[in-house]
Amino acid sequence: MIQKAGARKKHDLSQLIIPLAALGILILFNLIRGIAIGDLGFFSITTRVNNDGNTVLSGNLISIIDDASALAIIAMGMTLVTAACGGQDISVGAVGAISGAVFVKVLDAFGLDNISVLSIVVGLLAAIGVTVIFTLFNGTLVAVFKIQPMIATLILFSCGRSIAYMITGSATPQLNDKLINAIGKTIPGVPIPTPIFLVVIMALILGLVFKATNLRLYTQTVGINQGAARLNGINPTVIKLLSFVLLGVCVSLASMIQVCRLNQLSHKTLLDAIEMDAILAVAIGGNSLGGGKFRLAGSILGSYIILMLTNTLNDMSVKPESIKAYKAIVIIIIVIAGSPAVKDKISAFWKKMHNNSRKAVAGR
């Protein structure tokens, strides 16, 4: 126990071992399968010309990362809420539908045939504003009224899509516009899909926030021991509300990406069931769903793992109807591998190996 006090590691990657290993195994699996069937198409990245006449990169890996964008962004917000409140917001899909409805409503007000940078910016800001009001509603129930997050967010989970319907009416507006494609697909001249950049930008923004503020320290402190946090001058209510605000921003951005990718708004299907994938991404990323310490990178990796899994199964021509069952099996394995019980066993095993090797050395 007594070692030198100054010893330190710059980056503690232990939390990322499970997601990195899962990703590695998935890649390895596809590699072996590719060699076995003599087709490494899974890994090939080619260029093609899309409908708008842009040269873009295409291939499984690109589409995995691209498809995971909305999920990755929501997972970041979910990570913060999970860390601060020790619970999850299950209304993100429904609130995302509201956000999308507001976004499209604003575009409509400017004229759907006449979409400009201005209308998109105003639309996004309005969407963020409205979404944050809704996530703050959740946040207030959780932070002020101390209702369990899952119960508190069940309310908007059930009625969010109705609210979205009331905003848009029954219409499912089509958005066919260059600017919309530039957000949801690619910007002319740039071969990489825009959503990938948006994930990077969101991660960078949060990274900067962590750098410039004490958000990480406070969030973790509140998540681990809110009573002690208060005695050290931190206001747990404010920190929890803040996590819901940031989740709201993430949901709005993800919702905009999804609307632009699909070129349409459907209050029924927009970000459908994304809450479960987002929670899963947080868990696969090695974050405790009980709150406390967190790694955003883990959750982002988790999102890519989920999408890569779906994509791999697609590639193996598993029927879409049965994909979910296969997915469940793999996810059970990943979650169990990252569970405290297994972690303890593994670390005990390591210790034993370590001791044995030391004994062997000493015996010589």
Binding site: M1, I2, Q3, K4, A5, G6, A7, R8, K9, D12, K211, A212, T213, N214, L215, L217, Y218, Q220, T221, I224, N225, G227, A228, A229, R230, L231, N232, G233, I234, N235, G292, K293, K351, H354, N355
Partner: protein, 519 residues
């Protein structure tokens, strides 16, 4: 046993058998963890019907020895013999230990507060799917009466006092036919009267032939009930002593492995404790949701204390000062200026620091690193938008880890994995780093070893003498408070009933004032 043949057989197997009155014998126990040898060739013998105190500082190996015995850890080397078990006892799990008649009652009571006393005594013990509550209740009542425990079988456990809960846990263990009863810090949350109740029960069990291993930090209590003491230091056996062969001073010396120079040092600094003229903090009619209105002031460089029995309101008073509970009234002046303290952050801004009574619940952020725990309060004072650089944080942490001699593998070690004394030092470091004018320490020495206790007392006196810090020091050990405080505020039933200074600072006047016999 009278049978000669059996006896002869026993003699033949002398090495693997126990002497007649011995219930437990541990021989040459060693246990290593990566980087440390927690136990090195330790012997321990427990006889029938004795109370055997296991003593040692934090890190001496007491808990490791207990955990080896209860099957939580596996020993690396050594042998364990238990009465009634043929040959060597192989204990691989707590269940094994239980089956051999070894029961443990921990400091934190491991019972279900919302079940009844009887339910708690029998839960998880039958393999029968059906539960015979009526029968159990009857049986429980019998046991409780038998042991003289003042609880009703059908009473909800949470409605019993902590001491009675502790006793119910013991009753449960005893009813499971235990031969060896391990009591790990059973008295740390009990007041004097409750401790006496518990001791009564312990003596009763002793007379029934149960061997009791008593682990505690309270020296007086050891001398009150124990028959024998085994002292460990740094994972090694110092020795086993009958209680009358080892005076208290010598016990401390053996536990620490040195003479009591430290105590002498303390007295020396103790001479210098003089309060300055300036009033640093003054409260008038301060009250909170948990405390009645009271007046209080503290001078620059003064060390004072709140004393009284558990529940007398001493902790609630300082919590009101720090704004930890909801403040309901009163005026507060800090350094002559009126301030409004309604939450801890206000108190911190006014230059007040507070080390809470319950280290685990209110103090440490267990999963965060030692470094993050140390800088927390200062970081909060700097503000949300002014995070410290990593370098700065490392420098501060390094400085205080060295200054307070915090034993930790690194700055990045989660504070929850440190020993109790070191966790306490981390929280102390957190507040010292913040350089408060007025520091409140509520039970800073509770549940930590003698060496660290002295270190903390010394530090308190030094801070007051050299840095003119005003300090309120609360401890359940009156002796400790007499050694450090120049003024004692005595509380009873949530009221301040007396203030002792000068010649009145002695054990008997404190006791008298607490008891209400001072008038």
């Amino acid at each position: 046993m009278e049978n000669r043949v059996v006896l002869a057989k026993e003699l033949r197997a002398a090495k693997t058998k126990l002497q007649q009155d011995v219930v437990l014998s541990m021989r040459g126990i060693s246990k290593s963890f990566p980087g440390t040898k927690a136990l090195n060739d330790v012997d321990f013998t427990l006889r029938k019907g004795e109370i055997h105190a296991l003593m040692g500082e934090n890190g001496a190996g007491k808990s490791t020895l207990i955990k080896v015995l209860t099957g939580v850890y596996q020993k690396d080397e050594g042998q364990i013999f238990v009465d009634g078990v043929e040959g060597e006892a192989h204990i691989h799990s707590p269940q094994d230990a239980q089956n051999m008649g070894i029961s443990t009652v921990y400091q934190e009571i491991n019972l279900c507060p919302n079940l009844t006393v009887a339910e708690n005594m029998f839960i998880g013990r039958t393999k029968d799917i059906r539960v015979h509550w009526k029968e159990n209740e009857k049986k429980a009542t019998e046991i409780l009466n038998n042991l003289g425990i003042p609880a009703q079988a059908n009473q909800e456990l949470s409605r019993c006092s902590l001491a009675v809960q502790q006793m119910v846990a013991i009753a449960r263990a005893v009813d499971m036919q235990c031969k060896v009863l391990i009591l790990d810090e059973p008295t740390s949350s009990l007041d004097d009267k409750e401790v006496q109740m518990l001791f009564g029960l312990m003596r009763d069990l002793k007379n029934r032939g149960v061997g009791i291993i008593f682990v505690t930090h309270f020296l007086e209590q050891v001398y009150e009930v124990s028959d024998r003491i085994t002292v460990l230091r740094n994972g090694e056996l110092v020795g086993e002593f009958p209680i009358f062969d080892l005076p208290q001073v010598e016990l401390v010396a053996r536990m620490m492995g040195k003479d009591l120079n430290d105590l002498a040092d303390l007295e020396e600094i103790g001479q210098k404790k003089t309060a300055g003229e300036k009033v640093v903090y003054e409260a008038e009619n301060l009250s909170s949701a948990e405390s009645k209105p009271f007046n209080f002031q503290i001078h620059e460089g003064e060390v004072n204390g709140f004393t009284g029995l558990l529940g007398s309101g001493r902790s609630e008073s300082v919590r009101a000062i720090f704004g930890a509970d909801r403040v309901t009234g009163g005026t507060v002046e800090v350094n002559g200026k009126k301030v409004n303290i309604t939450k801890p952050h206000d108190a911190m801004k006014a230059g007040i620091g507070y080390l809470p009574e319950d280290r685990k619940r209110d103090g440490i952020i267990a999963d965060l690193s030692v470094r993050e725990n140390i800088i927390l309060a200062l970081q909060v004072m700097k503000g949300f938008f002014h995070p410290m650089s990593r370098k700065e944080a490392e420098k501060f942490a390094d400085e205080y880890i060295k200054a307070l001699k915090i034993k930790t593998a690194s700055q990045d070690t989660p504070v929850g994995s440190l020993s109790g004394g070191n966790q306490q030092k981390v929280i102390l470091a957190r507040w010292l780093l913040n350089h408060p004018d007025y520091l409140i320490l509520d039970e800073p020495t509770r549940g930590i070893d003698v060496g660290t206790k002295l270190e903390i007392q010394k530090l308190v006196l030094k801070l007051a003498a050299e840095e003119n810090m005003s300090i309120t020091f609360i401890s359940s050990e009156i002796e400790e408070m007499l050694r450090t405080c120049s003024r004692l505020i005595v509380m009873r039933d949530r009221n301040i009933v007396g203030e002792l200074t000068g010649d009145d600072l002695n054990q008997s006047s404190v006791m008298k004032t607490i008891a209400g016999g001072g008038q």
